[in-house]
Amino acid sequence: MTALGRTTPALVRAGGRRRTLAPYLFLTPAITLFVAFLALPIGYSLYLSLRTVKVSGLGLGKGDRTEVWAGLENYVRSLSDPEFAASVGRVALYGLLLVPTMIALALLFALMLDSRRTRARTVSRVSIFLPYAVPAVISSLLWGFLYLPGVSPFYYLFHALGWQVPTILSSRLVMFAVANIALWGGVGFNMIVIYTALKAIPSELYEAARIDGCTEVAVAWRIKVPIVLPSLIMTSVFSMIATLQVFAEPMTLRPLTNTISSTWTPLMKVYRDAFTRNDIYSAAATSVVIAAATFVLSFGFLRLVQNRAFSQEK
């Protein structure tokens, strides 16, 4: 400890005043950045989503293009766009495929890691967690090549067995191709989160059940899974949020296949509207819709967090 002054009544009083100001000073950088890079952009998006450009005359002169209020016109256009509906449908299906599979696998792996009878646990844990270190762009690139008939070991295997080979990057299966990339990248992280929760369970809780002759499976189902349920809910919600934002994987796969359109996911449509069509107003409306959907999906969860997380600060 440094700079220990002598305690005088004056100092204590000054310290009291400093102390009332101190928390605000500690929070100033965070709040400033939060306002500049979160609150302001959100507000700006809302504003833009209600605006549009009015073209008068030929639209070529300097004063011919003016920005005016558009009411909810952008929202109507965005929500009624069949391309948007199709992209939402795709993401919903993608989420239904991906999230339950990923959480179920993560739970399975975590339970197996937690079982003392499993061997080679360190190797498995490190290997399964490893994809977390690989950016989505790189993993999409690697899997993209592994999907190509000329490169894929799966095609090689199927051929060797004399089976019919499905084309992974065909329009019917490309959804699975993208979901597999996200699964590969996410299962390890979720496994570690669940495994951490499992390790925090005092072993006395299930030692007795074991002695009474419960099988490992019964212990896992009846005791461990109910206890780590909050972790499962949490990993599911976070995976859902990530699902709504899927962008990097399909964008990277696009050069390798023609089955991924430029509006394959809602965010790809936002990107296309904003930067290819220069229609930032419609893009803003669509992104507000996506943000609102995210909020609706995770609102209940947020309440749960607040009540539970800070019981240790008394």
Binding site: V126, V137, I192
Partner: protein
Amino acid sequence: MATTLPVPSPGAAPDLAPAGRREERPPLRPVRRERPSYTTTVILLLGAAYCLLPVVWVLVASSKSAGELFSTFTFAPSSHLIDNIRTLSAYRDGLYWRWMANTALYAGVGGLLSVIVSAAAGYGLAMYSFVGKKAIFNTLLAGVLVPGVVLAIPQYLLLAKVGLTNTYWSVLLPSIISPYGIYLARIYAAASVPTDVVEAARTDGARELTIFRAIATPMMMPGLVTVFLFQFVAIWNNFMLPYIMLGSDQLFPITVGLSGLLNQGASVPAMYTSVLTGALLSILPLIALFLTLQRYWQVDLAAGAVKS
């Protein structure tokens, strides 16, 4: 753990080390060596194989020449790795290595600034009670739920107004604020900085900032390393933000750069070997970071605290 957001307690979370805490505790009664389970071991090893497959494949593939890539067996290694690295390094006067340096800059500097901001905010929230605390925290926490990618376009338009797009700042500045980092820092501060230590320092006349810098920060350090790693990985992996913000390929991070190279490969297939070699070289630093820093992930929080 009653928390609902993932809180990697540096004592356990992405704990890659062999021995978990529970195993270290002395057994209540002599434990008989249990029969190994082959089913669970084999299933886990299959999972491990699935996760290693693309990494092993890219290691093999980047040793192949452009001609061999699509002609020889996928997992048959060749001897052209050095040639491929040389070709990649020669591409437009070492542009690839500039991308690597840019990525290190964005992730390193951005992560560091982010930790400082998060630590201060988390400490402020955990150690004081003040007017508006709950409202401020709830607002910051709601930021966790805002899809970062939805922000990228308005951020671009706003930064364009002040002429900052297509600069290092346009990627660095939005990366500093991390609601999740603040959330974690608050939990770590509450768990690792004892109130009586802070009170004692105050009684001794230490200033609030000094207490934070000299006393609280070292205690929070293991947790702050975790916050740094999370933010570092998040920035390193980010694609959409730099993709939107940057026009000049001299400023690209590795993700945007390689994605562009892959696009070129569609017309020049010889480029594919460079893309794959680049992908391999780009994931090595992050894998090394994970493996070498794993002992940091398991430092016990209690180790930093003063025992009275």
